[in-house]
Symmetry: C2
Subunit: 191 residues, 2 copies
């Protein structure tokens, strides 16, 4: 799958690309069907919400779940990124975020690279997030929000927040987030 | 200001009406301008967020702020409700909800009547909420969510939640909320 020049420009400008229906409803269903059993695995694989059994994040399902192992290697997942970056990839991290109704806690504003550099010692910000939506994402069910164009700011200094949620996170300064949002014309994107 | 038959039908079906730009930007600005001083008043008038100075809710500004006293009596605020209910009104409660960026906490799903009957001993569910948006409301800044048609369920039993936020609230059962949302076709409305 090749990235078009228009997609390349849009990625450069906004910092993300969106491919609706890249996986079929049947393919998504095959993934969704195994999530409950993955969420029952022991703590090593699942970070739970504060004071609740609700799973916040499951880790590394590509190592022990066949459908997710296939997804992790799927050409429709890998090829667009290889085309965009112009080189071969390896998988740094693989997560299934629960976003449980009612019990899911907030995610503070952050750059993932803050965690990758500080906790994982990733030497350079040469990495790409690929997110697959297992449920339909709407403005009502806790969508991930992006600030278009905020990637132009590069790597931003982050602070280690150990208290807000059960999941320690390298987070950004709220004043800076406000500035980035107003620079984007007050527009965020929910995906 | 008269309610049209279409508006009356829509109110009956969905449980709410929306009047965009009923107040002018200048009028809204006159209200907004005094909010910071109202939020500095002593605790008696302001409930603050847990562990923060951010105001969650200011109470009774119509008693001590001229712009809000005028709003509370404004024909554009009162007349549509009098027309809809077919009788004269009194003011039961007057609040300015802060919804502070970053510091604002969640509002659990609830019916306001749960508080009015349990805490205020309001004898009957014959009351109307009127909400004025002082800031533009978008899907990104913590909008109030409604479940269209859920008012047809009438008064729902509620539980007193004293722990989730700084503000005690009579809240609803999450399973029931899920049912009402799916009955509404998964559609909520953010206003």
């Amino acid at each position: 799958m090749k990235i078009t020049p228009e997609q390349r420009n849009s990625f450069d400008k906004d910092g993300y690309l969106f491919f609706p229906s890249l996986f079929s409803p049947e393919e998504i269903q095959n993934l969704l069907a195994v999530v409950p059993e993955l969420y029952q695995r022991r703590e090593e694989y699942n970070v739970r919400e504060k004071g609740s059994d609700a799973v916040r994040t499951n880790f590394a399902a590509h190592l022990y779940s066949k459908p997710f192992a296939k997804l992790a290697r799927h050409p429709r997942m890998i090829k667009p990124v290889e085309d965009l970056l112009g080189e071969h990839l390896y998988m740094h991290q693989f997560k299934i975020n629960g976003k449980m109704a009612f019990e899911g806690d907030v995610w503070q504003w952050h750059q993932d690279y803050g965690t990758w550099v500080n906790d994982d010692l990733m030497p350079k910000e040469r990495a790409m997030n690929i997110a697959i939506f297992l449920d339909e994402v709407t403005e009502f069910n806790g969508p991930l929000l992006f600030i278009p164009g905020s990637h132009k700011k590069g790597v931003i200094e982050s602070k280690h927040d150990l208290t807000t949620t059960s999941y320690p996170l390298w987070t950004l300064d709220n004043n800076l987030i406000s500035q980035l949002v107003s620079r984007a014309g007050g527009k965020m994107v929910d995906r």
